[in-house]
């Protein structure tokens, strides 16, 4: 269970990225978080991963209060999350197997656990035949599948995906979303931040819309008009998306 109550986040620059957000995400739910650039989606992502602390309000994930959590407990908390990014964030000097095993190694898993778990993830993501490939030898969709396998290998209870299809074509995007849906069916909570209206409409899942730091709608699929889909969003071209990406990466660098 993820519970945010009256959460606000103001950066040191004075920018108020998230304003008085309250929401509940139940265990095993599949939720989309959508909105324009600068709507506060990425800040929300970072608040849940405990990269940022809210200025006001409280965040509780699986019974842990992120505000009062001690620094030394953060790594243990993060092991209950699996994070996926638009730019995959794979280690380019290591092959597929090593990229997935990396997530296990850094939490001190034994070689036996690695030998058992990594092949399972390779099978789940359909990469068994490519375990020796380096990331640059794979397509975008395959690279994202490696990132998903890496996120899953430590058996997290929540998967957080930030624009997982942002760098992929339509076919690969569908494939990745199908994979995330399969993972969700196994009981893992999945939270996907996305711009793609097509994907949101196809998936028929709960959608939280954000704008200027506020939640402007939170709709279950059955509540949406099947003809209209979700509330129309401004049409975005490639340039706008690129601008959004670079702003996010600047934020991370800062």
């Amino acid at each position: 269970m993820i519970r945010l109550q009256h959460v606000s986040k103001m950066y040191e620059t004075g920018n108020r990225a998230v304003r008085d957000i309250s929401l509940d995400i139940k265990d095993g739910e599949f939720v989309f978080i959508s909105g324009k650039s600068g709507s506060g989606k990425s800040t929300l992502f970072k608040l849940i991963t405990r990269e940022l602390l809210p200025t006001e309000g409280s965040i509780e994930v699986n019974g842990s209060d992120l505000l009062t959590m001690r620094r030394r407990d953060i790594p243990r908390y993060r092991r209950t999350l699996g994070v996926i990014f638009q730019d995959f964030r794979l280690l380019n000097d290591r092959n597929v197997f090593e990229n997935i095993a990396f997530a296990q190694r850094v939490i001190g898993a034994s070689p036996r656990e690695i030998r058992e778990n990594v092949p399972k993830m390779l099978q789940l993501t359909g990469l068994s035949s490519k375990y020796k490939y380096l990331p640059k030898q794979l397509s975008g969709g395959e690279q994202q599948r490696v990132a998903i396998a890496r996120a899953l290998v430590n058996s997290p209870s929540v998967i957080l995906a930030d624009e997982p299809t942002g760098n992929l074509d339509e076919a690969n995007s569908r494939e990745i979303m199908g994979l995330l849906e399969d993972i969700n069916k196994r009981g893992t909570t999945v939270i996907v931040i996305t711009h793609s209206r097509e994907i949101i409409q196809q998936m028929k899942k709960r959608v939280i819309m954000m704008d200027k730091g506020h939640i402007i709608s939170d709709q279950q699929p059955e509540a949406r008009d099947p003809e209209q889909g979700i509330r129309p969003m401004p049409v975005r071209d490639g340039g706008e998306r690129q601008e959004h990406r670079s702003r996010r990466s600047r934020g991370r660098e800062a």
Binding site: T49, Y77, R78, G82, R105, V106, I107, G108, A109, N154
Partner: protein, 309 residues
């Protein structure tokens, strides 16, 4: 810490060294130069100190008595000196022993022939004396001054010039080495810190991923600390190996030179270097603590600064 975590961190640390080999080599070379000079000065200072100690034990204060001084007066002098404290040993040398010692030292193998002329007339008849050895050579001057005030004392001899010279040399070496080593330490710290910073920049992406998938601070920092420790270790190992061979040769060379110069046995003993089996274990301990310690501390604080995990 689990064994596989230890191996993982060690492997990653070694990989870091390989990734920026030039920086690592520069750091190792500077640490090596620093520890080599440290060991060199350590050896010189230890040996000068050793010579001073030898001088303290072999060259004492010699107290000669007035010709008319009786046994009671000599005993009173003995007790007065002993009462001052800080005395290692007071040795009485009779006139006969002094004459025998003189004959051995100056007449050598022909002592009996040359001494025959003196027959029963001991030329050192009134040279019985106390030889006094102090615990701390620093007190020598004040002790000499005190003894001169005692009744029945004719003359006081002591090796003031030698000890002062040795102490002076030691002080100069000490200051010189402190300055050079401080500069080299500063350069070493700067270079190790730079190497670790470069490694941190290389692994920025990896560290970000590690952070997000739940790696502990220890797990993220450990490879960098391993890298620093390895730089320090190799930086110490190289000069220690070099020092072992150099010191061994120097010991033999100096002894050969001193003996070839025809000095007496007591003087040659004075200028013998500390045996390598005594000094080298100390050098190894100090060198490794310095190298590994410096690598550990510098890398630990550098990576703390770079990785806000």
């Amino acid at each position: 810490m689990k064994l596989n975590t230890f191996f993982y961190c060690t492997k990653q640390g070694l990989k870091n060294i390989g990734r920026n080999i030039l920086f690592s080599m520069a750091s190792i070379a500077t640490v090596a130069a620093c520890i080599f000079l440290f060991c060199l000065f350590f050896a010189i200072i230890s040996n000068v100190q050793h010579i001073v100690t030898e001088a303290e034990t072999t060259v004492g204060i010699t107290v000669f008595f007035n010709e008319d001084a009786g046994e009671a007066e000599k005993k009173a002098i003995y007790e007065a000196i002993e009462a001052q404290g800080g005395i290692k040993e007071i040795r009485y040398t009779s006139a006969e022993e002094a004459w025998e010692s003189f004959k051995d030292e100056y007449f050598g193998d022909k002592s009996e022939e040359l001494a025959e002329a003196f027959a029963d007339d001991n030329p050192l008849a009134s040279s019985d004396n106390y030889e006094i050895f102090l615990n701390d050579i620093e007190n020598q001057q004040s002790m000499v001054e005190y003894i001169r005030t005692l009744p029945g004392v004719r003359e006081v001899n002591y090796a003031n010039a030698l000890v002062s010279a040795l102490k002076g040399i030691n002080r100069v070496i000490y200051i010189l080495s402190a300055v050079i080593i401080t500069v080299l330490f500063a350069v070493s710290i700067f270079l190790i810190s730079n190497t670790i910073s470069v490694a941190a920049a290389f692994r920025k992406r990896e560290n970000e991923i590690m952070k997000l998938i739940g790696a502990t601070n220890f797990m993220i920092r450990a490879p960098f600390v391993v890298e620093g420790v390895m730089i320090g270790f190799f930086g110490a190992l190289i000069p220690l190996t070099a020092m072992y061979f150099i010191y061994r040769r120097a010991t033999t060379f100096l002894l050969t030179q001193v003996l070839a110069a025809g000095t007496t046995v007591s003087v040659s003993n004075l200028f013998q270097l500390i045996p390598i089996r005594e000094i080298f274990p100390q050098m190894v301990i100090v060198g490794l603590i310095l190298g590994v310690g410096m690598g550990f501390v510098v890398s630990f604080f550098t990576i703390r600064k770079h990785l806000k995990v």
